[in-house]
Amino acid sequence: MIKVLFFAKLSEQLGLRELQVAASAAENTDQLLDYLKQYDPKWEQVLSAQPCLKAVNQNMVNHNVPLNSGDEVAFFPPVTGG
């Protein structure tokens, strides 16, 4: 399984903070995002509407990354701390 996390505005709009996706559903982060968009028309809209950053195993990545079972993938809006 792949653990998927959402934060901030994204988790609020999806109404969900965390879910598990079968590792067979996505070989990489691009496929995972496509898979999530197909889940529901609302998800397609939310995940397409805004700049979406991603982290794999708690490291920010800005390109497509291969995934394996046990990985943790997070999607979130641009950060605004400080």
Binding site: L5, A8, Q58, T80, G82
Partner: protein, 148 residues
């Protein structure tokens, strides 16, 4: 030292901790506060969300990067999360070095990277009770250019 916490912090205690190390000739500190106005709108309070685990890793990495560039003897980053009122302290960065040049530069570098890399998100409650996620600022991205 890196801390992500709900409770407030005491600048004097943090400063004395930095000052207690040997060979320190300069300490530069930065404190970020909750502003009562953002993009022309009155803000009544702020909540801060983060990504536990990744946040701490990310802050450690930022300090490591700073240590490669400047002489840093001791450093502190404290970032608060949860519910914060106007004028409350959000973030503290303290850098202790032998000389002020390194301390000034490293402190600014840490803040510039924290603002664009560390997984924190602010949500404002406006004076009329509406809530709004704060948008990332282009200026913050541009601030990174000076370290390229």
């Amino acid at each position: 030292m890196i801390k992500v916490q709900e409770q407030d912090f005491n600048q004097q205690i943090e400063y004395e901790r930095l000052r207690s190390k040997t060979s320190i000739g300069a300490i530069v500190t930065f404190t970020g506060l909750v502003r009562d106005i953002n993009q022309g709108q009155s803000v009544s309070d702020l909540s801060l969300e983060h990504y536990p685990g990744m946040t701490e890793k990310c802050l450690v990495e930022i300090v490591e990067q700073a240590k490669k560039r400047w002489d840093i003897i001791e450093s502190t980053i404290i970032h608060r999360v949860g519910q914060l009122a106007i004028s409350e302290q959000i973030v503290y960065v303290g850098i202790a070095s032998q000389h002020r040049g390194d301390a000034f530069a490293a402190c600014e570098f840490v803040m510039d990277y924290l603002k664009t890399q560390a997984p924190f998100w602010k949500k404002e409650t406006m004076a009329d009770g509406q809530t709004k996620w704060v948008d990332a600022r282009e200026d913050d991205q541009l601030a990174l250019n000076k370290w390229a």
